[in-house]
């Protein structure tokens, strides 16, 4: 399959030599499943899902990284959700591999992935209620 960028996502080219990825897109939080399905149809592979806690702006950023198996094509898709109610739809229905990445992001940031089959702590102890990578976390 010769993957191309799906047109439905507003991708902006990025300087690969300086940044390490080729395209970047910012989408609305309710579009993530659509986005994942479109990239899946083009044969992209889910690299990782991660969160970034922008405490000053009161937002949580969720970053989805994808790469392509045949050529150097790496894209990052990002979306921001409010920090006091971090909830976003899961893409584990599209990419089963997203399951663990989302659980990990839930562990670290407390972002709830709606529709996720199992959001119990993944790397933290079973009874953990804290989210250590939040910037206001105190051990």
């Amino acid at each position: 399959m010769n993957s191309k960028l799906p047109l439905s996502i507003p991708f902006q080219p990025v300087d690969y030599a300086a940044k390490g990825y080729h395209f970047d897109a910012v989408i609305a939080p309710d579009k993530v499943v659509e986005m994942a399905a479109a990239l899946d149809a083009e044969g992209f592979v889910l690299d990782t899902i991660t969160g970034v806690d922008w405490m000053a702006e009161g937002q949580m950023e969720v970053v989805y990284d994808f790469f392509c198996l045949e050529k150097a094509l790496r894209v990052a898709v990002r979306t921001r959700i409010p920090r006091d109610n971090p909830e976003i739809a899961t893409i584990s229905g599209v990419y089963p591999g997203a399951n663990w990445h989302e659980r990990e992001t839930h562990d670290f940031f407390g972002i709830r992935f709606a529709g996720h089959p199992d959001l119990t702590p993944f790397l933290l102890p079973e009874d953990a209620t804290y989210h250590p990578l939040r910037k206001d976390f105190v051990a």
Partner: protein, 375 residues
Amino acid sequence: MTSAETSPVQAPRETFVLNLGPQHPATHGVLRVKLTMDGEYVVRAEPVCGYIHRMQEKMGENRTYAQFLPNTSRIDYLSAMTYTHAFVGVVERAVKLQVPPRAEFIRVITSELNRISSHLVWWGAFLLDLGGFTPLLYAFDDREKILDLLEGITGSRLTYSYYRIGGLYNDVDEAFLKGTREFVAHMRPRLKMYRDLVTENIIFRKRLIGIGPIGAEMCRKYGATGPVIRGAGVAYDVRKVEPYSVYPEFDFIAPTFPEGDSMARYLVRMEEIAQSLRIIEQALDKLPAGPVMAEKVPRVLKLPAGDYCYAVEAARGRFAVRIVSDGKEIPYRVKLRSPSLSNLSLFEEASRGMLLPDALAMMGSLDLVIPDIDR
């Protein structure tokens, strides 16, 4: 007859839960697998991680770039060189440092030596999973030779921290270059011996061929990389597809085997050792003279605000570092994308309906390093 054919898992009669780990000889560390079993058939295998979670990402957020560097060799301690490579790579990319060519060549040589030593440990441990004890000691015997070479230039046997931002900790000496050539000459006949001794063994072949099939599509859906996806016939190798360092200068292939079973993954790794030897030989021939440290490395590193990625081909697959910087001396967020996590995530689906020993053999063929999963 493969185990999946006769498996009663379609309609399990009576199941019980078997807790494998966190201390179990087959998990090579502290992975725990919650197995729902019907007799000896696996109905559901649910890996439980986090028993060696060491806060690597949190640590990235509270120390400077140079201070975080030693951590990178403790994530996947078997493939420490490549992990450090990814981290120094991302910082160099962000501050636009030009690394001298000699340093890049030495990075390639040491990374490939490290890859061989990692594969040797895997080879021995995998055979141990299958009940053959002796190969482990043969593998460690050869691995000691690599460790001697690397120890001579880095001072460490396992956790090297040899690459520095902008180059290397120090230059290699004559003894290393000579020793590496000798090692390459020594390793080739050993590979043949390994093939005669193990790969051709009938019990071994019967335990691997057709067992634990993982297809290309499953690899894609779960993000599995490295020997796992190459064992499913997809020639995905970061060194080839998204070249970094000076890898484009060398003539080598990313070996693939289309079967997707445990044997294919085994053969991929054995072939990779041969390919790494080729790369090392070429790099030694082409090794340029010159300094091994960039001239102007800022004393205080500050990455411009923004995010930066760098991916390398570690021994277990694609390892990527993503750094989000807000322009300060310490990173705002360090994300480590570990290959073992993605490779293990398909275990639950792939092991369904297998017999316990086959499932464990397949888990061995994924080559897991648990601290790499838990970080």
